[in-house]
Amino acid sequence: MSVLVLAEVDGKTLKPSTYQAITAATYWGLAIDVLVYGKDLDAALAEASTISGVRQVLHAQADHLQHPLVEDVSDLVMTIASDYNVILTAHSVFGKSLLPGIAARLDTASITDVIAIEAPSHYVRPSYAGNILAHIDNHEDVQIVSVRSTAFRAAERNGNAQIVEISVPPSRAVSRWISEQLSHSERPELNSARVVIAGGRSLGEQFDSLLNPLAEKLDAAIGATRACVDAGFAANELQVGQTGTIIAPELYIAVGISGAMQHIAGIKDSKVIVAINHDPDAPIFKYADYGLVADLFSALPELNAALQ
């Protein structure tokens, strides 16, 4: 009886969401094994072995896992899946891409984007753009679950797990990695920043020049609405919402954002929401804790000055 957590390696280290998934995994009170796959894994393995609550770190190393592809990792997981009662991962882009296929191959359901585990097979997950929280009773023998990182705290690091090497099946080569195009930003990451300041399409060409100085002062990540991304004022990976990044910072500042339900779905769990909008009836004010009815083009420079 044990839980398998699928880790994710980012460069040399584990992604923060892996720590959050491990916290979720402790819910069952069963032994936890963490699968670390890739190439050149020494640092990530050492790290994983110190995470509290982990029994074993399964080390799966292969050249073809250097840039992991869904099909290859799925084949790998299938070689050990029958040893586990629970298979769990973070609801990251890779987690979401991988987990349902593993569930299908095991002829079982997968419960995605879980924000609370209420009992060993009872979960809460948001649906309808976060307007509904669905309580789910999963009847399957094997629980296949992905968890929303922002809903779980990160596991501590005072463990001492054993590292065990496992064999990796060859690649089926139905897919092949070609390249990645990463955006380099000096700013903290959206999904883990303490403060996020986000702009809507009304910022226009001044998106960067208005938000950057404030983000700098607040050590904040920058976010954007889809309308803003579509209009070409902000990069796609800044999109916050139902179909963008889901965030839960201590402080979220929405500037010139209407508050469409798809956007709200991604910011609901923020501790404090501040909205600046010149329309007193903008829906965002229904969700905000603090509001300022003002023109953003004058309010942002004032805010910048006030933070000196």
């Binding site: 869904v70 099909e71 882009v93 891409s97 987990l99 349902p100 593993i102 569930a103 299908a104 191959r105 002829d107 079982t108 359901a109 419960i111 995605t112 984007d113 649906s127 309808y128 753009a129 976060g130 307007n131 509904i132 929280l133 669905a134 309580h135 009773d137 999963n138 009847h139 139905v174 897919s175 070609i178 390249s179 990645e180 195009q181 990463l182 955006s183 990451e189 999904n191 607040l218 889809r226 796609n236 139902q242 201590e250 402080l251 339900m261 798809q262 501790k271 404090v272 929401i273 007193p280 229904k286 969700y287 804790d289 603090y290 509001g291 300022l292 309010a299 805010l303 006030a306 933070l307």
Partner: protein, 249 residues
Amino acid sequence: MKVLVAVKHAIDYNVKPDIHTETGQVDLAQVKKAINPFDEISLEEAVRLKERGHVGEIVAVAIGSAEAKDSLRHAYALGADRALLVETDQPLQPLAVAKLLKVIVEREQPQLIFLGKQAVGEDYGQTGQMLAALLGMGVGTFSSALQIAEGHIVVTREIDKGTETIALQLPAVITSDLRLNEPRFIKLPNLMMAKKKAIETLAANDLGVDLRPRFTVTRAVEPAPRPGAVQFATVNELVKQLRQTEVLV
């Protein structure tokens, strides 16, 4: 080549659903429905591939009750060549949908299978990945750009910090993201024409697939509402408040 596009008749993305007081479940009976926006993007992409000469036939497949024909007509109006309804009145979970689609894929033998990255509504986001796994095919999730090459397809995918480009052997499953394209505006004559086109209908129960639900949504609740914003008249008052509550350090 032939392309299959899965089409879900989903809750209209602008509608905020209500919870039925007696059942404690989301009340979908009277809710406005429309084609899932991600499926519309898939169709648009299939049509563009056809316009570029890569695709011969576009088959749209919906799974659901007879009302899903509305979304199939929408698919016709956008440019689908054939439409197929796998009919059932039973609500289906992702694994059952994937299994039904597998039967249709085996029958139609498409080279490319499009699904949306998620259906608005339950927001499960699983069916494409499940279908690919059941078929043993490669999957390109969160696709924002596609290029057809000899025997394979090059897919640019949205990842956490940018994009990634992969090649998938054909046949393959693609799930569409918002940035893949912007669906064209449907002209009225196309809609009128779509009304006259035939929709082939199969009964889901006849396809030999295990449709039983694997989990139960025991209840649906609305998240606690927020009290609404405390309004400030000036930036300085706002900053003062944020400093007082220690959110600004």
